[in-house]
């Protein structure tokens, strides 16, 4: 028979081990991608797969020769950041009015917004392509910025709405009685209180924009192409070159991974904002 103390310890060891196992399972594909990017093409195709090999930078050098990585990265950065900012600019007032001036239609509006996310993007590819074409926006950053802003808007509004709902309305009413205008109330009271939640929402939006591939592949070719388009360009035309594909994927993921790593504290705080209030 185990004592209470022993069974608690056993429980914590089991929970700890299984957490690490699940984390390792989730992280493995990323690790494998990074490892493969340092292999030669022959090592990359070897069966059984090789864990120990002679690392090489040849894939990275080749990519650098063949394509202008920084131009793609700049497009990714610019499009993601501007789309995220625009999205926040629209979502904050929307969430403010829905959270603090709730009407009979608020819940329905929120559900309707979310339902738009259920539509497969390919279903609206033709009309959006034709609109972009007639406006001369094919292969332009503006088209991607507008589309990314709109496709992320429902999720961003929902997230901010949830954070705002956790803030007691009394605080905003106190500000109103203290003489704050609506803009001052939002800018000097609401946003500073919700900054954790807002930061994690921005981060999520940034990640979603950065990783978006469907619209970037269909609406851009070179001038406005972001990193996802660069990765795709290494996939099929010349057969599958796993090592090069892994190298370019690593390059595409690296910035957002590093950014996520740096801001993980903020992210966790934001995601658990309601729970720990």
């Amino acid at each position: 028979m185990l004592t209470l103390k022993q069974s608690r310890r056993l429980q914590s060891v089991l929970v700890g081990t299984s957490s690490w196992a699940i984390a390792a399972l989730i992280f493995f594909p990323i690790l494998w991608m990074i490892l493969t990017s340092f292999k030669t093409e022959i090592d990359a195709f070897a069966t059984p797969p090789q864990f120990f090999f002679m690392p090489t930078l040849e894939n990275y050098l080749l990519i650098n020769e063949r394509s202008d990585y920084f131009s793609f990265a700049w497009n990714s950065l610019l499009i993601s950041s501007v789309a995220t900012l625009l999205c926040m600019l629209i979502a904050v007032p929307a969430a403010y009015s829905m959270a603090f001036f709730e009407s009979r239609h608020t819940k329905r509006t929120l559900l309707w917004m979310l339902s738009t996310k259920m539509l497969p993007p390919v279903g609206v590819l033709m009309p959006i392509y034709l609109i972009c074409q007639s406006l001369g926006l094919l292969d332009s950053r503006i088209a991607l910025i507008v589309i990314y802003t709109l496709i992320n808007l429902p999720i961003v509004v929902w997230m901010i709405y949830t954070y705002f709902k956790d803030i007691p309305v009394d605080i905003l009413e106190a500000a109103r009685l203290d003489g704050a205008t609506t803009l001052q109330e939002i800018g000097r009271v609401l946003l500073p209180i919700a900054r954790g939640g807002l930061a994690s929402t921005m981060l999520l939006s940034l990640i979603l924009c950065w990783n978006e591939a469907f619209w970037s592949l269909n609406l851009t070719s070179s001038a406005a192409a972001p990193l996802t388009a660069l990765v795709a360009s290494y996939s099929s035309p010349e057969g599958l070159f796993w090592a090069k594909l892994s190298a370019v994927s690593t390059l595409a993921c690296a910035p957002i991974l590093i950014f996520g790593w740096i801001s993980q504290k903020q992210l966790v705080r934001g995601l658990s904002f309601g729970a720990v209030k």
């Binding site: 605080i171 009685l177 203290d178």
Partner: protein
């Protein structure tokens, strides 16, 4: 100066009337308490005065100026919320100065006003702290301080003590009374706690179902309740009620025959009361006396007794199954099931008609 006039004020939410036509005057430097059970509309009324809710109809005037549709910030009122509603990201000092900063008051003046409020409320050592580092009582003082720095025409308090523990509530209640004297300010205070209402108010407004039941000084309301609701609401333990029928009535006395068998003559000017009409007799717990058998007006059976040390509250049942509470000496506690004989002075009785309205003023007070 701060004279508030409310005329025929109504407020409804989605077709449901919450405030059903209220007329009220609050005079300069008065401490007015809105009291009533949950959902009676007292907080809504306060929020209408503050401008946090839109008025459906009626008017609110402050010093002769119509403020019914004015933005909250322009009304020159300050409110202390039940939840304190401090700005969590600002220090105590910033919380106090926020309104003045928004109004563009000069830095030196802001500093002086903040220091002054901090001194009155003993907040000086806490000015650099964030709200989450303060205790409940300290947070409440910051919330009051935030109102003081603005030097408003009227202070509005929305159940400010309900989040404090019992001991702190008593202490803060005293501080509020002292503050009212010191600032000589007009204050409107919402509470469901009748002890707060009785101890703090110059004028109590008893609300029920969105209407004003009675307005008056605490003692006026206690001794001359206008109806059954006010009589039952104010006073702990509550007033005991006995059903009965009116007998002969003239300008000087009124006979009442109670369902539990007793018959008595009350010194009331109940001339308009028809003989045989149903009435309710009200007697406060402290006005009952336990007397030897045969000397009282009412025979009851003891139920539960609550001994508080100084007093004992005996819950008793009459022959007609009405429950009464009587207050007796702390060293006395009847056994459950024991028969007691009660006497009460008819001069301390209240009589209510079938609609629950107090029938007439007692003769001695009318005189």
């Amino acid at each position: 100066m701060a004279d508030l006039k409310i005329r025929n004020l109504k407020k409804g939410f989605d077709g449901t009337a919450i405030i059903k036509g209220i007329d009220l005057d609050v005079r300069d430097r008065e401490f007015v308490v809105f009291v009533g059970p949950s959902g009676c509309g007292k907080s809504t009324l306060l929020r209408l005065i503050a401008g946090l809710e839109e008025v459906t109809s009626g008017t609110i005037e402050l010093d002769g100026k119509d403020i019914t549709d004015m933005a909250p910030a322009k009304r020159d009122l300050a409110m202390v919320f039940q939840t304190y509603a401090l700005y969590p990201h600002m220090t105590v000092g910033k919380n106090l100065s926020f309104a003045l900063d928004l109004a563009g008051v000069a830095k030196s003046e802001v500093k002086e006003k903040v220091q002054n409020a901090a001194r009155i409320l003993e907040l000086e050592p806490l000015l650099e702290r964030k709200p989450k580092q303060l205790s409940g009582g300290q947070r409440q003082r910051v919330a009051i301080g935030r109102a003081i720095v603005r030097n408003p025409k009227i202070f509005l308090f929305d159940e400010p003590l309900s989040n404090l523990d019992a001991a702190l509530r008593v202490q803060t209640r005293l501080e509020l009374a002292r503050l009212h004297q010191e600032l000589q300010a007009t204050m409107i205070y919402v509470t469901h706690d009748q002890v707060e209402a009785m101890t703090l108010a110059d004028k109590v407004v008893v609300l029920n179902g969105g209407r004003v039941e009675q307005v008056g000084s605490p003692m006026e309301l206690y001794h001359q309740p206008a109806n059954l609701f006010v009589a039952g609401f104010l006073g702990t333990p509550k007033m005991g009620f006995l059903r009965g029928q009116a007998g002969k009535a003239d300008g000087a006395a009124c006979e009442v025959k109670l369902e539990c068998g007793a018959q008595l003559s009350l010194p009331l000017a109940a001339g308009g009361l028809a003989a045989g009409s149903p009435v309710t007799l009200g007697v406060r717990p402290e006005h009952f006396n336990i007397v030897p058998a045969g000397q009282g007006q009412l025979r009851v059976i003891a139920d539960v007794s609550e001994r508080l040390g100084s007093d004992t509250y005996c819950h008793v049942r009459t022959a007609s199954k009405e429950m009464l509470t009587i207050r007796v000496r702390g060293d006395f506690a009847p056994r459950a099931g024991e028969t007691l004989e009660l006497a009460f002075d008819p001069a301390h009785c209240h009589l209510f008609d079938a609609d629950g309205q107090a029938i007439a003023k007692r003769l001695q007070q009318a005189a």
